[in-house]
């Protein structure tokens, strides 16, 4: 008797739930955005979100948004008779966590109207229908924006997916090898060091290893470093073996190929012989640890993007906090990342790099698509970008701003002149982030002592699981 009642209850509960369930996904994905919604509203509320926070991560950009962008935009709207209320919703977390939060917001249709996103997330977001092309959300005003003339095609590509633009890029970047000149002189290495091959990096590391308390080489590895493992470590090295990660024409990702194995062997050379600090790669906060170590003069060579130069070790204590280096300009040197051996890089290059770029996108669910676009365009205007460069110089998306500002910074002009012409970009495919995770796992395994061949095998297997065996080469 009792059992059967229980059964009845369970069955009816199940039935009710199934009725309520309907089906997941597919919701709204067919709905067309309406670019002219609320276009003539007199009261406008907009929210900006980014992984910036006052007093923390990317503090300079956070200050730029709250002190320049918002007051400027509100004043410009007021001149048109529109009362705009713009709020900034900042975060200061790991990029992966910001991405998850962003996706959950977009999935539920909540969150900011204008938000910052990394270009490599676009494939996923667009395939899920979370973001839509500017043509659909904004329409004609986005097409006719005069700022596009200042933004090169290569930079626009960072926020394009399947030949459609999804937002305004805010710049680009490049990876180099940073080195500590005072450690170099103690180790008898030149202040204008420029390695020509991976072997040169290793031999410099061996010289640095003789100094007490110094961790010679920091090449990011492992899952805790997240995308920094792929972009700063594995991918520039892989570009130095001749083949890109993804072959567009064959639609194939590199599995356990010779190139991948060579890269993993390089990791083994670094971390298997005490040239790098294994535990920093395993630590949950390892990347921050590596920043702190470098700023204290405990790391010889470190591979990072220009973000490191401008946002981590900048001389200003206010902007860069505990990792700021007052003597940065005297102590820190930089060099291009060499191919495995000269001429072995992609397109037969001697030196390689990896670039990316983030930008501002708008939510297709925004109530004020036109005003949100105006806000984005305002942020990307020459005035605002110049204001941002005063707070923190970076390679802006705009050529007119770069021409005026980059000459003030030796590293950024080096990157824009020497690195951007030889750089490579990450695929915008929606599977990229899963492939990147497989890369992080493989490098992490090598650090903890797995042989490169075995790590390559495991990488091949996870890759096949993620993208399907027919899209994996090698192995």
């Amino acid at each position: 008797m009792r059992l059967s009642r229980r059964a009845v209850l369970l069955t009816s509960g199940t039935a009710v739930s199934l009725v309520l369930t309907g089906c997941v996904g597919a919701k709204d994905s067919g709905a067309k955005a309406n670019p002219s919604a609320n276009a003539s509203a007199k009261d406008v509320t907009l929210v900006i979100s980014a992984n910036d926070v006052a007093g923390g991560k990317n503090a300079a950009e956070a200050a730029w948004i709250t002190d320049s962008v918002i007051p400027g935009f509100v004043a410009a709207q007021k001149a048109k008779g529109v009362t705009a209320k713009v709020t900034f919703n900042g975060s200061g977390v790991e990029d992966e966590q910001y991405k998850t939060k962003l996706e959950l917001n977009l999935k539920t249709g909540s969150g900011a109207d204008v938000f910052a996103a990394d270009g490599i997330w676009l494939g996923e977001l667009a395939s899920a229908g979370y973001v839509k092309p500017l043509d659909d959300v904004v329409g004609a005003p986005a097409k006719s924006w005069d700022g596009w003339q200042q933004i090169s095609k290569a930079v626009q590509q960072n926020l394009a997916f399947k030949d459609q633009l999804y937002g305004i890029p805010n710049g680009t970047d490049g990876r180099v090898l940073y080195f500590n000149k005072s450690l170099f002189s103690k180790a008898g290495l030149p202040a204008d060091w420029q390695p020509k091959s991976w072997a040169d990096i290793i031999s410099a590391g061996q010289a640095l290893k003789k100094l007490p308390g110094v961790n010679p080489i920091q090449i990011n590895a492992g899952v805790p470093m997240g995308e920094a493992t792929s972009a700063q470590g594995f991918l520039p090295l892989l570009a130095g073996t001749g083949q890109p990660l993804y072959n567009d024409s064959e639609a194939k990702w590199q599995g356990a190929t010779e190139g991948v194995k060579d890269v993993l062997k390089f990791y083994q050379q670094v971390y298997g012989s005490g040239l790098g600090d294994k535990r920093v790669q395993q630590d949950k906060a390892g990347r921050d640890q590596s920043f702190a170590d470098f700023s204290k003069g405990k790391i010889g060579i470190l591979a990072e993007g220009d973000y490191f130069w401008r946002s981590v070790i900048c001389p200003s204590k206010k902007d860069c906090g505990t990792t700021s280096m007052a003597n940065r300009n005297d102590v820190v040197g930089w060099a291009k990342i060499p191919a495995m051996t000269p001429g072995k890089g992609v397109n037969g290059q001697d030196f390689v790099s990896v670039s990316g770029g983030s930008g501002w996108l708008l939510s297709p669910k925004t109530k004020y698509p036109q005003q949100a676009w105006e806000l984005m365009a305002f942020m990307a205007s020459k005035d605002m970008q110049t204001a941002l460069s005063k707070a923190q110089i970076r390679i802006s998306a705009r050529a007119d701003v770069n021409d005026a500002t980059l000459t003030n910074d030796p590293l950024l002009s080096f990157i824009s002149k020497e690195v951007l012409p030889i750089t490579t970009y990450r695929p915008s495919d929606e599977k990229y982030n899963e492939v990147s995770l497989a890369i992080q796992e493989a490098t992490g395994k090598v650090v903890t002592g797995t042989s490169p061949d075995e790590a390559a095998k495991a990488y091949q297997a996870s890759l096949q699981k993620a993208v399907g065996a027919e899209h994996v080469s090698g192995g």
């Binding site: 509960g13 997941v24 996706e103 996923e124």
Partner: protein, 322 residues
């Protein structure tokens, strides 16, 4: 669990024939004399809540577990039905089986052995000490239990930190990364520290129920403390031990706080099931697969709960027939 589930209350009422109006207590169990219809009205709100917040999410999880549903990418837009594919993948995935093994280690050492034994010992040895000492101890142990998880995690990070950690300073060790070199040991010790308060309180209350006369008789018969414990106290508190073990096992099985200490790392060495699910479903975005593993975790919980309840039942049965 069964005593709090609403249908336990419904069952006797529902079994009654429907009286026309409220009457005196009927011999068939309709004690309150409400009648079926009114009784249903009374339990309806509870049933709705249970339905909305327990049954529906559980069924929803089962449903999601059958899809290749994902947080982003094209599988977020149009998930396809994969049947038992997610379960097959999970059971064949060494990452899942390793995670299950780590979970069993974690639950076994930190809850079943650690919190249980330490909680009991604290309750036992401090039962006769001065009230002030006992109260101070209570506050200290309770503090570990009531502090918010994020605060506690931060304190432990400061304790274990590789460079300037308190533990390294005390031991005089330099550059010893505890959370990286011994991740499982760290989260086990952490959970014992954090969760012992509950066991201690429960056992302190249980030990108080042991009749003093029994203990005195044992003492007069020349029983040593250890013999008193074994032959007088333990038989009396057996049921408390089972209940306590059931509760802390289930809590520990679903415990996520180790993530705040080790992040499941290094190299997945401390990736217990809740962390594995979080990484797969939320970070990796595989919502369908995550749902499937969640259901497996739920089944594991049910198996444990049923096993304990069986034990409890046989015990009460033994006592009734003794």
């Amino acid at each position: 669990m069964p005593s709090t589930s609403p249908e336990a209350e419904v069952a006797p009422v529902a079994a009654a024939p429907v009286p026309a109006r409220p009457g005196p207590a009927a011999p068939d169990g309709d004690v309150v004399g409400l009648g079926r219809g009114r009784a249903m009205v009374f339990v309806a709100p509870a049933l709705v809540l249970v339905g909305v917040f327990l049954v529906f999410p559980a069924v929803w999880t089962i449903y999601l577990g059958l899809l290749d549903y994902s947080l982003t990418g094209s599988a977020a837009k149009a998930p396809t039905f994969v049947g038992l594919g997610n379960y097959v993948t999970a059971l064949g995935d060494p990452a899942f089986t390793r995670s299950l093994y780590l979970t069993l280690l974690y639950v076994g050492f930190s809850a079943v052995v650690g919190q249980n034994v330490l909680g009991f010992l604290l309750a036992w040895f401090f039962r006769t000490t001065h009230a002030v000492v006992r109260n101070v101890l209570n506050v200290l142990v309770l503090l570990a239990w009531i502090l918010p998880g994020s605060v506690v995690a931060f304190l432990w990070q400061a304790l274990l930190d590789r460079r300037d950690g308190t533990l390294n300073a005390i031991l005089g060790t330099t550059d010893y990364a505890w959370a990286i070199d011994h991740p499982m040991a760290v989260i086990i010790v952490f959970n014992i520290w954090r969760g012992t308060a509950f066991s201690m309180l429960l056992y302190a209350a249980a030990i108080n129920t042991v009749p003093r006369s029994h203990l005195e008789v044992a003492r007069m018969a020349g029983a040593r403390p250890w013999q008193q414990l074994r032959d007088v106290v333990l038989p009396t508190v057996k049921r408390h031990v089972l209940t306590n073990t059931l509760l802390i096992t289930l809590w520990t099985f679903n415990d996520f706080s180790p993530y705040l200490l080790t992040g499941g790392g290094p190299d997945n060495q401390s990736e217990i099931l809740p962390v594995y699910i979080y990484k797969e479903a939320i970070i990796g975005g595989h919502l369908g697969y995550g749902s499937a593993i969640s259901l497996l975790l739920l089944v594991a919980n049910l198996v444990i709960a049923v096993a304990y309840i069986r034990l409890l039942r046989t015990r009460s049965h033994d006592e009734a027939t003794a």
